[in-house]
């Protein structure tokens, strides 16, 4: 057992876990943050993507201990109270989900993509960048539309801040 200390959605936490605990298990089973999903458990599907120190990574492919000292943001941490994050709002407005299982990972990856490209995105780039996130409903068309829509909104909201 080890104590892992990290910041999750702005809150400092210390959790006692077995050394073999994955970061996604710490989030879901110990902190009850079940918005982060486990889809394939083989590092391919991206349902477990969270932000660690601002980078979108697969929380099923990391030991909790490796995240010690890091700042983690999950899908639960991106809205401002009742106001959805622009990416969440764009997914809702563009019907960017069907069953919704892949959506938390899609949204966390998509926010990272928009940040990396500074909002300068086209459809081909979004499709290439989303290749680590799998939607079994194969609803990619509206997901891509949502990301492009959000890229514009995030640029506007950054400019307003």
């Amino acid at each position: 057992m080890s104590t892992v200390k990290l910041t999750v959605n702005g809150k400092a936490v210390a959790v006692d876990v077995e050394d073999r605990t994955l970061l996604v298990q710490l989030l879901r089973d110990h902190l009850n943050l079940t918005g982060t999903h486990v889809g394939c458990d083989t590092s391919q599907c991206g349902a477990c993507v969270i932000h660690m120190d601002g980078k979108a990574i697969k929380s099923c492919t990391m030991l909790a201990g490796q995240a010690d000292g890091a700042s983690i943001t999950t899908i639960e941490g991106i809205a401002k109270g009742d106001e959805l994050h622009p990416m969440q709002a764009a997914f809702r407005d563009n019907h960017g989900l069907q069953c919704g299982y892949c959506t938390p990972g899609m949204i966390m990856s998509a926010i990272d993509i928009v940040h990396r490209y500074g909002g300068q995105l086209d459809e081909a780039t979004v499709r290439h960048e989303l290749e680590g996130n799998i939607c079994r409903c194969t609803g990619y068309h509206n997901i891509v539309k949502a990301v492009l829509d959000a890229a514009g909104r995030m640029k506007v909201s950054q400019a307003a801040e």
Binding site: T42, G46, K55, T61
Partner: protein, 266 residues
């Protein structure tokens, strides 16, 4: 995953010392291969020694005609690095088509070559460019380092610290990506050294892991152009065959990817 004991090393010396004190330890770099393998219970190290916080294993240096990438540098950092883009743009391109963005944030060059997956990208780059692998004990040429599928010259407890690439005159990489895993169904790295030597390496093709392709090297030596490879014949014997492609298909892919790599080389 079976039980294991997690250690975090803060220096190469500490990592090596922790390794020697454990019964069956594994070094943990980015974990993008080791952790999935442990989750499938195909590996069950008694101890994992995390290298992720070792500062001396991070970074890229360009000194004259040698580009050195330290072993713990992530694919993402390699892809973004200005010296890599300037000195060997084919390596920056290779990292951009390796895995997916989340994997590129975590996976490292040292982890990739230590594992020597027969379909990994970096072994082809090292072999074609005539790179040198630096460890905590010695320097090993790429020709000697890769010794077959999942097998390298590394001794137990030996730790890769960096890879040094001689800057080539020209180099290019192309691969046929597996549509789900993004591993190379076959990938070919071509390089023309500054002394005029031609080296070509293929990954994802051979049952013996990454390999040189002498027939294509000879053709390119005579004429550095994609069309020079038209008449080359690649034997399918000892090539991989699985549900994704036959040995004959991969033999053809070696030619086609080599042609595309030459066309893309700069």
């Amino acid at each position: 995953m079976y039980q294991t004991v997690y250690h975090r090393a803060s220096s190469v010396d500490e990592a090596v010392a922790l390794f020697s004190k454990s019964s069956e330890a594994k070094f943990l770099a980015g974990g993008q291969t080791l952790l999935p393998v442990m989750k499938q219970r195909l590996a069950s190290p008694s101890d994992v020694i995390d290298l992720g916080k070792i500062k001396e294993l991070q970074g890229v240096e360009l000194s004259g005609d040698v580009l050195t990438i330290k072993a713990g540098t992530t694919y993402f950092d390699i892809m973004q690095n200005a010296d890599v883009k300037k000195a060997i743009p084919a390596i920056a391109y290779l990292t951009s088509v390796l895995g997916d963005p989340a994997v590129r944030y975590r996976g490292t060059i040292g982890g990739s070559i230590a594992n020597n997956d027969p379909a990994a990208d970096f072994p082809a780059a090292l072999l074609a460019l005539g790179a040198t692998v630096k460890t905590n004990k010695r320097s090993i040429t790429a020709d000697d380092f890769f010794q077959g599928m999942f097998t390298t010259a590394l001794e137990d407890g030996e730790l890769i610290t960096a890879v040094s690439f001689p800057v080539p005159a020209k180099a290019g990489y192309e691969k046929m990506r597996h549509p789900a895993s993004r591993f190379a169904l076959t990938g070919v790295f071509v390089a023309q050294t500054k002394s005029g030597e031609i080296r070509v390496a293929a990954t994802g093709a051979s049952q013996s892991g990454v390999m040189r392709v002498p027939a294509i090297e000879a053709a390119l030596k005579a004429n550095w152009s994609p069309s020079a490879i038209d008449g080359v014949s690649i034997s399918a014997s000892n090539l991989l065959a699985d549900i994704h492609g036959t040995a004959e298909y991969r033999a053809n892919l070696i030619k086609v990817m080599a042609q595309r790599a030459v066309a893309a080389a700069r």
